[in-house]
Amino acid sequence: MPEIKVTPLGAGQDVGRSCILVSIAGKNVMLDCGMHMGYNDDRRFPDFSYITQNGRLTDFLDCVIISHFHLDHCGALPYFSEMVGYDGPIYMTHPTKAICPILLEDYRKITVDKKGETNFFTSQMIKDCMKKVVAVHLHQTIQVDDELEIKAYYAGHVLGAAMFQIKVGSESVVYTGDYNMTPDRHLGAAWIDKCRPDLLISESTYATTIRDSKRCRERDFLKKVHESVERGGKVLIPVFALGRVVFATPGMLHAGQSLQIFRKWAGNEKNMVIMPGYCVQGTVGHKILSGQRKLEMEGRQILEVKMQVEYMSFSAHADAKGIMQLIRQAEPRSVLLVHGEAKKMEFLKQKIEQEFHVNCYMPANGETTTLFTSPNIPVDISLGLLKRESAIGNTPVNNDFPLSGTAILSFRLVSPEQALKELGLGEHQLRFTCRVHIQDPRKEHEMVLRVYNHLKGVLKDYSVQHLPDGSIMVESILIQATAQSEDQGTKVLLVSWTYQDEELGSYLTSLLKKGLPQTTA
């Protein structure tokens, strides 16, 4: 039976590093290749050894697709392509390709700057990796090979973010990456057509949240900034990602410019730091967000944080409502949740199964979900079986009607006659009927006789009969006259023929439509 297999190496029940392996009709695709911001060792990258164990990566993987430029979706890409040795195609949208190297450079800088690491991907590797990238346009169908095709849809998460449809033959999977269903000031809402994929792999960061309006958050944000500035303070907004407000990097206050400024401003209660996103453990950003106010800095100095600390996220993820909306839009046959926390996913999973009556999966990292994708086959159920099931109280529930019976499938080529005989069925005939109006004040039977004589004269090689019931037969074509009650001068001829005699039927109709010759009168 055809199957689709999904194994998250990252983003399975967590919001760490997205890296999902999809196997569809014998094709293997890697969806995103992200890094985990919380680790500085081997754990920061997905464990690719699970794919390299059966030989070369390039032989195993047909392509890599990157949904957007955030590092938890693309941060491991140069490592994967230039150090692990993947040499196949990589797909992303044009804006993602343009912005990706900037973020990767930033990431490399922090790693080298902060840790002084030498065994890390270099600028040249980032460039070489980006040269392997094939940039795609939205809604453009890309033929990866003879069988595998992909198509990008607008995801609205950040500039260039895309959802991808992966299709092999009649089987298809849609991967949303991160997406947002509510338009904001510079990004629109995610959109996908009713592509009815076998599987929709959706992010679920806000699986249980219904987000408030972004305008309220914007108002609060501006208010806080204004208040701070009005009382003579300064506002620091450390950021680590492009696509939103860009102020000073890095975003978690763990090195460089933003930390430098933070140190200078932290002691003044008039100042304010607004953290626009999540900070990993160990960073100054994390510490101040969790309320720590005395920080031990380098050289054992204690830095007292008197400035105001605010958390204000403008991240663009679909909330629970948005996720449901996308499912409604795409009408998948099953859903798989990634990029979220297990407990929240569990809640959403139930909601999805309840509302859409489709299976919903949420594999942990390393767990493989296998879906069998048997195509829908309409089956004629015998009346006897239906009656028997209803007699024992079996009725449809939520469009599901489980029935037990024997399916008879036979693939033989036989003549129609033999098929009728074997199935015990009679032959049905399909006839076409056409009305032809003829101007003739005479009586009906006289007019029929004129028609008969006319046809007999024209169709010398055909069998033309005048039947006792007053109708005319030309081969299998039947012609009957009927009176037009409103107008005695107009007679109506009904011409009826089987589809096998379509040619002759059409000819007769057109002949009669020309009217009867005067000479026969």
């Binding site: 194994t7 967590d14 919001v15 014998g26 985990h36 680790y39 500085n40 699970y50 164990q53 030989g55 070369r56 032989d59 955030h70 590092l71 040499d87 196949g88 195609p89 450079e105 080298v112 700057d113 902060k114 002084g116 600028s123 460039k127 980006m130 040269k131 003879d146 991160d178 960061t205 990602a241 975003g251 763990h254 090195a255 460089g256 930390l259 430098q260 953290m275 996103g277 999540y278 900070c279 453990q281 160990g282 960073t283 100054v284 510490k287 969790s290 309320g291 720590q292 031990e296 380098e298 050289g299 958390y311 996220s313 991240s315 993820h317 926390e341 942990a364 390393g366 767990e367 493989t368």
Partner: protein, 875 residues
């Protein structure tokens, strides 16, 4: 209710023993790294509260990195100090385990964490007994523990259980415990776990258990059946044997994987006994039609073949390898063949067979494109059933992948220092060229197979890339002119073709470069040079076109190729002639203004190389050089350095300048001081730390050159200068350093917020201090009555501010009264700043405090209750 027993601990004094011990150790160790390995007083104080949080199911520790890092810390701790002492001095740890065990509804992450933590402690035998006495091990790892709870459904719990057991198996007591509590059977089941991570961890655990239980088993028994193997090992071997004989493909694969790891990590004699016991069912697997576990068998044989235990030519392993080379599918066998060819110790006959296996697909391709009698082919006789290879080559789904694998394996062989067998490189080269011809429709099929291959390969980028890789690698063989001609033809065809994708084009450039470099270096290079020059003329025509490509990837690859070409062939006059008679230099210069920053950077690097040649060529009378305005190149690059908004081109410029300075570029030699001064000035205001680091390297090269020129560099063979001459030279060089504002730049970089910049500046300043501030010069400073107290960054920043704001003399007569141009003032600053202290602190990574266990424990405590609102959502 669980917070209570620990609530009081926060304020209670830490265990006296711990305090004394840690204090002593800290004093002894000193370094930050060592300090982290010891449970210090602060951590001991924080630990009870942290354990309370972890044991409270109502508390949320949503970030799993906390727990991971917590475990990392304990792993380090237990490696450096007694685990038993750790548990005794921090009873909260045992209480945490007990408490989680009692929880009705622990979270899966907490339970997994506890399993792993307990395993880490139980690795020590004394600690194991301690936990055993409290029945904690049986409750966690026995049948009544998590194994029988609903949470066992969670992969994280199973994973924690396996990892806990793995950590624990460091002594025989643990093995006995596991054998008696039924854990081994659980591990057998987990080998087939739906989670890849759990299954893999279970397999690794069994490997560890087997090797550990047999590590003392060194002697080779006469009779296999007589050997008295430990019970645990016996159980495992019976399980492996049964799995190998089962009909279950997954069980067979698991066992083969397990054996692969065992033979890979353990080279004791007992492995030979193990093989003699298991070889029969394994060889039987090879005889099946078709062979199901091909990849796993290849892994097993390779791992065994690399073990010295099996290297003897009479070993039965080689019979199995021969059998595998014959029976395995061509798509699977390549890896085995190349692995065998890389072995040091291996019977020659096996190696010859392995090579034949690798050459067979190439032979088929070659024959598919030639008339039957026209070419002898790669193989004298076919070792395998060539029909299978032909079937795979004629099928769309397998052809490209078989060829890619074969080409990659053959390429690997080219890099071996010594090939153990004769490689028919000329027919191989021809077969590679034939594949490349097939891929662009240039080959003439000579058979039905040829027709099929032709249809499948046309436009196949994967095969094109692999074939170009090996084509480049084959350049190191001496080839007759006729074949060089065919290589040049196919390379030109790829370089010219508009259908060539950017990635394939890059590979074409790489292969071309390898052939050109190889031909220029070969002893017979003169014989081929005419042919090569003709090729170069065609090549530059193509290169001109590629430099104008609408794709930045193509322009960039073309520039990178040009740079390397110039670097390697610049000594060849013929090359220079062809280069400068083309439009390539002009086009390269134009690309300095490319909209794509990557391309601008590559153009800068290429111009850096070209500019060496323009000087060479312009010196020759009669050579017209109207294409490159070499005078303006320095100015152009300086402009890029100060104005380009992107980092890549600026970094490229500074790299070029460093090269120029090192190699004595004529433009630099004209006025080196002025050149260095202007570059440092531009770099000083650059925000990119790598540009600054480049500037520092330039400063380092410059100072070393200057000191060397004046005979001041520390060279053991240099003539010893008299002290008077030395002093004169020192003051001369100092004067020059001040003129170019070297110290202003270096001190500024020392204050930089980017650690690598500050670190490098510090290194250079320390070296300069050693040269310039010798004893005699120091006298001068002290006689002036200046303070020699070491000063830090704040003081230096203040001094620099004064230097930069104005050159006003300071009435206090302090060191900072002198400006950056004044040698005495600079020397005083150099002596006053605590460079050694800064060097020590800069050598530590900037996050060493945040990474400390105290920081982690504080973060866990501080995060409780706040995570819900600040959850991960920013990406």
């Amino acid at each position: 209710m669980w917070r209570e027993p620990w609530g009081g601990r926060l304020s209670s004094p830490p265990v006296p023993g711990a305090k004394a011990r840690t204090a002593g150790l800290r004093g002894a160790c000193g370094s930050a790294k060592k300090t982290r390995c010891i449970m210090d007083r602060e951590c001991s104080q924080l630990l009870p509260s942290v354990c309370a949080v972890l044991a409270d199911s109502r508390q949320l520790v949503a970030d799993d990195t906390f727990l991971e890092k917590f475990l990392d810390w304990f792993k380090t701790l237990t490696e450096t100090e007694s685990s038993l002492l750790l548990l005794q001095e921090n009873p909260c740890l045992t209480e945490l385990i007990t408490c989680v065990l009692k929880l009705k509804d622990p979270s899966s992450s907490t339970l997994s964490f506890i399993l792993r933590l307990t395993g880490i402690f139980a690795a020590s035998e004394s600690c194991f007994q301690y936990l055993q006495q409290r029945e904690l091990l049986i409750s966690l790892f026995g049948e009544v523990g998590p194994l029988s709870s609903a949470l066992w459904e969670e992969a994280s719990v199973r994973s924690g259980w396996v990892q806990g057991v793995h950590s624990m198996v460091q002594h025989q007591s643990a093995l006995h415990f596991l054998c008696s509590c039924g854990a081994i059977e659980v591990i057998f089941t987990l080998q087939g776990d739906p989670s890849l991570f759990v299954a893999s961890a279970a397999n690794q655990l069994l490997v560890h258990m087997l090797t550990f239980s047999l590590q003392s088993f060194q002697t080779k028994p006469e009779n296999i059946k007589d050997c008295d193997w430990p019970i645990c090992a016996q159980k495992l071997i019976v399980h492996i044997e049964e799995s190998l004989k089962s009909n279950s493909a997954s069980r067979i694969k698991q066992s083969l994987k397990l054996l692969t790891s065992v033979f890979g990590c353990c080279h004791d004699l007992w492995t030979e006994v193990l093989w003699s016991r298991l070889s029969e069912p394994i060889v039987y697997l090879l005889e099946e039609e078709p062979v199901h576990a091909g990849h796993s068998l290849v892994d097993l044989f390779l791992s065994m073949a690399r073990s010295p235990v099996f290297s003897c030519p009479e070993c039965s392993l080689w019979t199995s390898v021969t059998c595998a080379l014959e029976h395995l599918n061509p798509a699977q066998v390549g890896r085995l063949a190349v692995g065998v060819l890389k072995l040091q110790e291996c019977p020659q006959a096996v190696k010859i067979q392995a090579l034949s296996v690798l050459l067979q697909p190439m032979d088929c391709v070659l024959k598919a494109a030639s008339q039957p009698l026209e070419y002898p082919g790669l193989l004298n006789r076919s070792v395998n059933d060539s029909a299978t290879v032909e079937t795979l080559l004629s099928c769309r789904s397998s052809c490209a992948s078989l060829l890619c694998q074969t080409l990659t394996h053959l390429e690997e062989l080219q890099y071996l220092t010594c090939l153990p067998v004769d490689l028919p490189h000329i027919p191989l080269l021809q077969s590679v060229v034939t594949i490349l011809q097939f891929c662009i429709g240039l080959a003439t099929p000579a058979s039905c197979l040829g027709n099929k291959i032709s249809r499948i390969l046309i436009g196949c980028f994967r095969v094109q890339r692999s074939a170009l890789d090996i084509l480049g690698a084959l350049s190191h063989w001496e080839s007759p002119s006729v074949f060089i001609g065919s290589v040049f033809d196919i390379l030109l065809a790829y370089l010219k073709s508009p259908d060539t994708s950017p990635t394939v084009l890059k590979k074409s450039f790489q292969a071309t470069l390898k052939w050109l470099v190889s031909l220029s270096e070969a002893p017979s290079s003169k014989d081929h040079w005419q042919q090569t020059e003709q090729f170069l003329q065609d090549l530059f025509l193509v290169l001109q076109k590629r430099l104008c490509s609408p794709y930045w990837e193509v322009r960039d690859s073309a520039l990178e190729f040009l740079t390397l070409l110039v670097k390697h062939l610049r000594e060849k006059e013929g090359f220079r002639q062809v280069l400068f008679s083309s439009e390539v230099p002009k086009l390269t210069e134009d690309l300095l203004e490319d909209p794509e920053s990557y391309v601008r950077a590559s153009a800068v690097t290429a111009m850096g190389q070209l500019s060496f040649l323009t000087h060479l060529i312009s010196k020759k009378p009669g050579v017209e050089n109207g294409n490159v305005k070499e005078k303006s190149i320095v100015a152009q690059l300086k402009e890029i350095l100060s104005t380009d908004s992107e980092g890549f081109p600026r970094r490229a410029v500074i790299s070029v300048f460093i090269d120029w300075l090192r190699e004595g570029h004529p433009d630099v030699l004209k006025d080196t001081e002025q050149f260095v001064s202007s570059v440092l000035q531009a770099v000083n205001s650059d925000l990119d730390w790598e540009v600054k680091a480049g500037g520092l390297e330039l400063a380092e090269v410059f100072s070393a050159q200057l000191l060397g020129r004046l005979g001041l560099a520390a060279c053991p063979y240099a003539a010893v200068l008299s002290s008077a001459t030395r002093s004169t030279h020192l003051s001369e060089s100092l004067q020059i350093f001040c003129q170019v504002k070297l110290f202003e730049f270096l001190f500024g970089a020392l204050c930089d917020c980017d650690r690598p910049v500050a670190q490098k500046a510090c290194d250079i300043l320390i070296a300069l201090k050693a040269e310039l501030c010798d004893e005699s010069s120091l006298k001068e400073g002290t006689s002036a009555g200046l303070s020699t107290e070491a000063r830090g960054i704040a003081w230096l920043e203040e001094t620099l501010r004064r230097w930069s704001s104005c050159a006003k003399p300071c009435p206090r007569g302090d060191a900072d009264e002198a400006g950056s141009q004044d040698p005495n003032g600079v020397l005083l600053v150099l002596r006053t700043v605590d460079l050694e202290g800064l060097h020590r602190s800069l050598n530590r990574s900037s996050d060493h405090i945040e990474k400390s266990p105290q920081s982690l424990l504080q973060d866990i405590l501080a995060t409780v209750g706040t995570l819900e609102e600040n959850e991960a959502d920013c990406y």
